[in-house]
């Protein structure tokens, strides 16, 4: 069996299976949480009149931080590490690896299925929240341009984080813990440091795609010195591809004792 048919078969299995996982339901809830908060704002707004407490302001300031700096990372850690971890925990790996399908196709097919699924959940939540928050401004193309750029950044971040944590999970135990420490420890800390150090993080390049997000709403002043747009896109794509290739290589050669 050659690579692409095997990739397609694995993708078809897990795109369907993934939607039945409890984890997916949790992420659907988290993706739509801002929508819930918008409803609360709408109710409060009916009683209190405030220019700083409107739905568009909420979406443009709080929601991007929530999606970009919290949800994307969490989603990526959990979906990418589960690609292999759930096969080992549930002892189902032999069903996939005792077949003529190339091992690389198995890993990448399942990763792509979970990525597509998480991306769809994320986009559904973001789009619904955006539409609800900007209902009266949807005719302005500038709003849409910013929003599309934001969606692109979210998907690229999900892919990059996912690729990195997938690769780590092929040879490392407790990747979830490592991922959480990396996301909320290392990356959070480094973004307050000026200079080159912040270029060692994924979030730097993601924020460089939408620099205004990080500068204004932070507890501390974030000294983001953005990289160029094209440079950031290329870096994120390169990191994604490099880690996916490395993960493929490790998974193809390593022995997993079930």
């Amino acid at each position: 069996m050659s690579f692409f048919p095997a990739f397609g078969a694995v993708f078809a299995i897990f795109i369907r299976l993934g939607f039945r996982k409890k984890r997916t339901r949790l992420f659907v809830f988290l993706a739509f949480l801002p929508l819930l908060l918008l409803a609360v704002i709408a109710i409060v707004g009916a009683f209190v009149e405030s220019r700083d407490f409107s739905a568009p302001i909420f979406f443009s300031k709080i929601a991007p931080t929530y999606y970009l700096q919290f949800l994307v990372g969490i989603m990526a850690v959990f979906f990418s590490t589960s690609v292999l971890a759930e096969e080992l925990d549930d002892k189902t790996l032999p069903y996939l690896t005792s077949r003529p399908a190339p091992r690389g196709a198995v890993l990448l097919g399942k990763f792509t299925a979970y990525f597509a699924q998480m991306g769809a959940v994320l986009m559904a939540g973001v789009i619904c929240s955006f539409v609800a928050a900007n209902w009266e401004r949807l005719d302005r193309w500038v709003v849409w341009a910013d929003f599309l750029q934001f969606c692109f950044a979210l998907l690229l971040a999900l892919l990059t984080y996912g690729a990195v944590f997938l690769c780590l999970s092929t040879f490392m135990k407790r990747t979830i813990l490592f991922g959480l420490v990396y996301l909320f420890g290392f990356e959070s800390f480094v973004q307050y440091l000026p200079g080159f150090t912040q270029k060692l993080t994924i979030i730097h390049y993601v924020k460089s795609l939408i620099p205004q997000v990080a500068v204004e709403y932070s507890f501390l002043v974030v000294r983001l010195q953005p990289s160029s747009l094209s440079g950031s896109i290329l870096t994120l794509l390169f990191v994604s591809l490099a880690f996916l290739a490395l993960g493929w290589l490790v998974f193809s050669r390593k022995e997993y004792v079930v």
Binding site: V10, D90, K91, T92, Y95, R99, P100, V258
Partner: protein
């Protein structure tokens, strides 16, 4: 007849634990029983054959191909692992169709073959229920079905009858025998001698990672029969029964322990025949008859000690 499975000085260890050690053998078509006590190395051998583990030393060839170099050969292999692991959110039909898709079958063919396999294994009625709702026996049957659904030439079954009810145990055995009759190769592992005995005469005895003996099952059966055997009997009239049994030539010793008596015999069949006659004729009320060393480990211990 050319060998379907061939190994050359095959060794595998997990850290400091030995899996298999220096196994060189050839397996030809037909049913081959892989027999040994728990931890003997049977599963390790099957996992290497199924491409799940890599040998530390030595080679394994399936259909003449080195398994490390040619993954395509696994298209001719069906593997039933020992673990009760499943995609629990799938239905039985979806699971089998998915496994067939991974073998390279188009969607429509995979669907048809899945239905055939479900019918064969008696799960047609439950095909659209999710696996989470299946009983242990049903899951075991489904696991066997995924191994043979793509009609492989080599079937590797690791303790396939665990948890299967008696009726289906018989039917699964019949399926395995059918498979062998078609000229295909089946390697079935078990630690229960009677299970293997009812499937094939051709066995490989594995103990502590090494092939201890191979060939006709009657050879091991003879060894077991000459192996001094212990039988524990609990009855209210134990002294009386002991006196009767003491005169039987097959009894080599009698001791009293744990509220019963332990009888040692050198001829199990003759002893049991005599025991049954005594119980029936002299109306002994027997509460328990057990054989503490009626297992492969005891036989292996005995054979190694010889």
């Amino acid at each position: 007849m050319s060998a379907v499975v061939k190994t050359h000085k095959l060794s595998k260890w997990y850290g400091r634990v030995l899996g298999v050690n220096d196994i060189s053998l050839e397996i030809t078509p037909g049913i081959k029983g892989l027999l040994g006590p728990n931890g003997a190395g049977k599963s390790t051998f099957l996992k290497i054959a199924a491409g799940q583990l890599k040998p530390n030393i030595g080679r394994m060839y399936l259909f003449g191909h080195d398994i490390r170099r040619r993954r395509k050969v696994f298209g001719r292999v069906g593997y039933c692992p020992e673990y009760d692991g499943f995609y629990l959110e799938m239905t039985g039909r979806q699971f089998l169709a998915a496994m067939l898709r991974l073998q390279g079958h188009p969607r429509a063919t995979a669907s048809e073959m899945a239905l055939r396999a479900l019918d064969k294994i008696g799960l047609t009625d439950r095909q659209d229920d999710i696996i989470k709702t299946y009983s242990l026996g049903m899951r075991q049957r489904l696991k066997i079905a995924q191994a043979f659904a793509h009609e492989p030439d080599l079937l590797l079954l690791d303790e396939p009858l665990n948890g299967v009810d008696p009726v289906w145990r018989y039917r699964v055995m019949e399926m395995i025998r059918d498979f062998g009759r078609q000229g295909k190769t089946v390697i079935v592992s078990s630690h229960i001698l009677a299970e293997i005995e009812s499937l094939t005469d051709d066995i490989i005895l594995i103990h502590q990672g090494q092939v201890f003996a191979q060939g006709d099952i009657h050879y091991i059966r003879d060894l077991i029969d000459t192996h001094p055997h212990q039988v524990f009997i609990r009855t209210a009239r134990e002294r009386e029964l002991a006196a009767v049994l003491a005169g039987e030539p097959s009894v080599s010793g009698i001791g009293f322990e744990d509220g019963g008596m332990m009888v040692r015999t050198t001829n199990r069949d003759s002893f049991f025949q005599h025991l049954m006659d005594c119980i029936v004729e002299q109306k002994f009320d027997v509460e328990e008859i057990t054989s503490p060393d009626d297992n492969l480990q005891a036989v292996f211990d005995y054979l190694i000690g010889r």
